[in-house]
Amino acid sequence: MEYLYGIVIIVGLYVILATSFNLIIGYGGLVSIAHPVFFALGAYTSAILSRDFHVPVLLAMLAGFFVAFIASIALALPSLRVSGDYLMIASIGFQLGVLELIKNVRFTGGPGGFTNIPPFLIREFGRESYVLLVLAVVAAVILLIWWIARSDYGRAMSAMRDDELAFASVGRDAMWMKIAIFGLGSGLAGVAGGLYAHYFRFITPEQFEILQSSAILTMVVVGGMRTTWGPVVGALLLQALPQAISFLQLPPSVLGPIQGLLFTGLVLVFMFFRPQGLVPAKDVWRAAPAAKAREAR
C-alpha cells in the first residue's frame, strides 16, 4: 500500500508541475524550461527551514513558494528583455547554474543530497492524510489554472501570446503580465517541491537536472498545451508507464535507459503524428455556440 501511496503522490506532484508549466509555456507562451529549478528551490527551502531552523512545515512550504516565486522574477526581469529562443537558453543557463550552486554550498548537503527532512502529517495521521493533502493541492492548482485561463485575464494572456505588439498597442503591459505568469507558475512548482521533500525526506540536486525539464515538457506536449486536462493526462500517462516497466525486475543500469528511451521515443512519435497532443486545445478566439446564437439573434 505504501508503494501505491508513493505512486499517487509522485503522479500528483507531476500533475502540479505539468499544470503550472502549462501556464508558463502554453497559456503564456514563455519558452523557458527551467521549471525543475523552482521545484528544487521549493524543496530545498522547505527542507532547510524545517530541519535546520525548526520552522513549522506548513510555513516552510509557504516559504518554498515565495522563494521559487522571487527567484523566478529574478530570472524573468533580465531574461524577458530577450524572448523566444534566447529566453529558453537563458533559462537553461539559470537552471544549471543554480543546481551547480546547490551542489557546491555546504548547507544544502552538496552533491550527496539533503537528508533527514522532517515528515509532515504522516506520523500523526498516517500516509493517507499526506495523499489527501497532495490530491487537495492538485485539485486546487488545476482549478486555479482553469479559472485563470477562462477569466478576462486568461483572454488577455492569449492575446499577449498571439500578438504581443497588438496587445501592447491597446495599452496593456505585456512585460508585467509575463512576469506575473512566470512567477505564479514557478511558485506552484515550489509548492510541489515542498510537498516532495516532506514525503520522500531526501533530495539531491541530480533530481532536478535537465532530464527533469524534458520530463515535464514531455507531459505538457504529449498531453496537450493550453488545455486544462492535457498536462494532467500527460503526467498520468508518462508517470504510469515507467512504473509499469519497473515491474519487469530489470537491473537499474538497464531500467533507467529503457525508461528514458520510452519517454523520448513517445514524445518523438507524438511530435510527428499528434503534435496537438492527446487533448487538443480549442481555438480561444472562436465564440462558444451560445455566444454565436446570441449574436445571430
Binding site: P78, V82, M88, I89, I92, G93, L96, G256, L268, M271
Partner: protein, 269 residues
C-alpha cells in the same frame, strides 16, 4: 556528438582498428545521421511550419534518445577513444607541449580556415547566408533551400566529427556529455554573434581559457558554475553577440572631411 564519439570508440577499442579508420567511420555515421535528421525530421517539421521552440524540443528529444540508447548499449561509465588519454609531453621552455596539442590546434585552425573560405568565397556559402537571412526571399532568387539546409547539416556534422575526435582523445565522454558541450557551443555562438565564423571561434577560445584558467583562482568544482553564469549573461546582456569597437579606417577618415556629393543627374531632372 554522441554518435560520432561512440562510433570511434567501437572502431578503436572494440575492433582494434587504427585511428584514421575510426575517423572515416565516425564521419560516415555522423553524416548519415545528419542527413537522416534533416530529411526525415527537420524537413517534415519545416513543411508543417512549426515554431522554433517545437524544433528545439525535437532536437532535444532526439539528442536524449540517442544518449539513452548509448547508455543502454555502452553503459554509463566514462569512455575515451583510445585506451589512454595521456600523451607524451615535450618541454618547450617552461611550457609542456603534448603530442596531442599541435595536431589538435593545427587541424582546428585548418578546419576553421576552410570553413571561413567556404562561406566567403563559394556560391554555396553565400547561398547559406542568404537562406539563413530570409529563406523565402532566397527561394525567389532561385536558391534551392532544400539543398542548402542539407549542406548546412552535413557541414555541421563534419565539424561535430572533428570536435568529438579531438575531445574524445583528450577527455572522458559520458552518454550525456553531448548536452553540456552543446550548451558551451550555444554560449560561444551567441557571444561571438550568430552567423560569424571567427566570432564564435574566438568566443569559444576565450570561454574555454577563462573556464580552465579559473582553477588558479577558484576551486575546480566551481568551473561548471562559471560556464552557466557565462551562458546566462551572454544571452541576457549580449543577445546579438559581443561587438568590438570598430577600427577607424583611413577611408572613413578621408571621406568624413569631403563635401557632400552632388545629387545624380536623374534626380535633378
Amino acid at each position: 556528438m554522441t554518435i560520432a564519439f561512440y562510433t570511434a570508440f567501437v572502431v578503436v577499442q572494440g575492433l582494434d582498428w587504427p585511428a584514421w579508420v575510426a575517423f572515416i567511420a565516425m564521419l560516415a555515421t555522423t553524416l548519415t545521421a545528419s542527413y537522416a535528421l534533416e530529411r526525415i525530421g527537420f524537413e517534415a517539421l519545416r513543411a508543417r511550419g512549426v515554431s522554433v521552440m517545437f524544433v528545439f524540443v525535437f532536437t532535444f528529444m532526439v539528442s536524449e534518445f540517442v544518449a539513452y540508447l548509448a547508455a543502454l548499449i555502452f553503459g554509463t561509465w566514462p569512455q575515451t577513444i583510445f585506451p589512454t588519454m595521456f600523451w607524451p609531453v615535450t618541454l618547450v621552455g617552461d611550457i609542456a607541449v603534448s603530442a596531442w596539442d599541435l595536431p589538435a590546434i593545427g587541424s582546428t585552425a585548418a578546419a576553421l580556415a576552410a570553413y571561413f573560405a567556404f562561406m566567403r568565397f563559394t556560391r554555396t556559402g553565400q547561398f547559406m547566408i542568404g537562406v539563413a537571412d530570409n529563406p523565402d526571399l532566397a527561394a525567389l532568387y532561385g536558391i534551392d533551400k532544400r539543398k542548402i539546409f542539407l549542406v548546412t547539416m552535413l557541414i555541421s556534422g563534419a565539424f561535430v566529427c572533428l570536435g568529438m575526435f579531438l575531445y574524445g582523445t583528450r577527455a572522458q565522454v559520458l552518454p550525456e556529455t553531448g548536452l553540456s558541450l552543446m550548451l558551451f557551443a550555444v554560449a560561444a555562438t551567441i557571444m561571438g554573434g550568430i552567423g560569424k565564423v571567427a566570432g564564435a571561434a574566438i568566443a569559444a577560445l576565450i570561454l574555454a581559457v577563462i573556464q580552465n584558467a579559473s582553477i588558479l583562482m577558484i576551486p575546480s568544482e566551481w568551473q561548471g558554475f562559471l560556464l552557466y553564469v557565462f551562458l546566462f549573461f551572454a544571452i541576457v546582456f549580449f543577445p546579438s553577440g559581443l561587438r568590438l569597437p570598430r577600427r577607424r579606417s583611413r577611408f572613413s577618415t578621408a571621406t568624413r572631411d569631403m563635401p557632400p556629393a552632388a545629387p545624380p543627374a536623374e534626380s535633378q531632372a
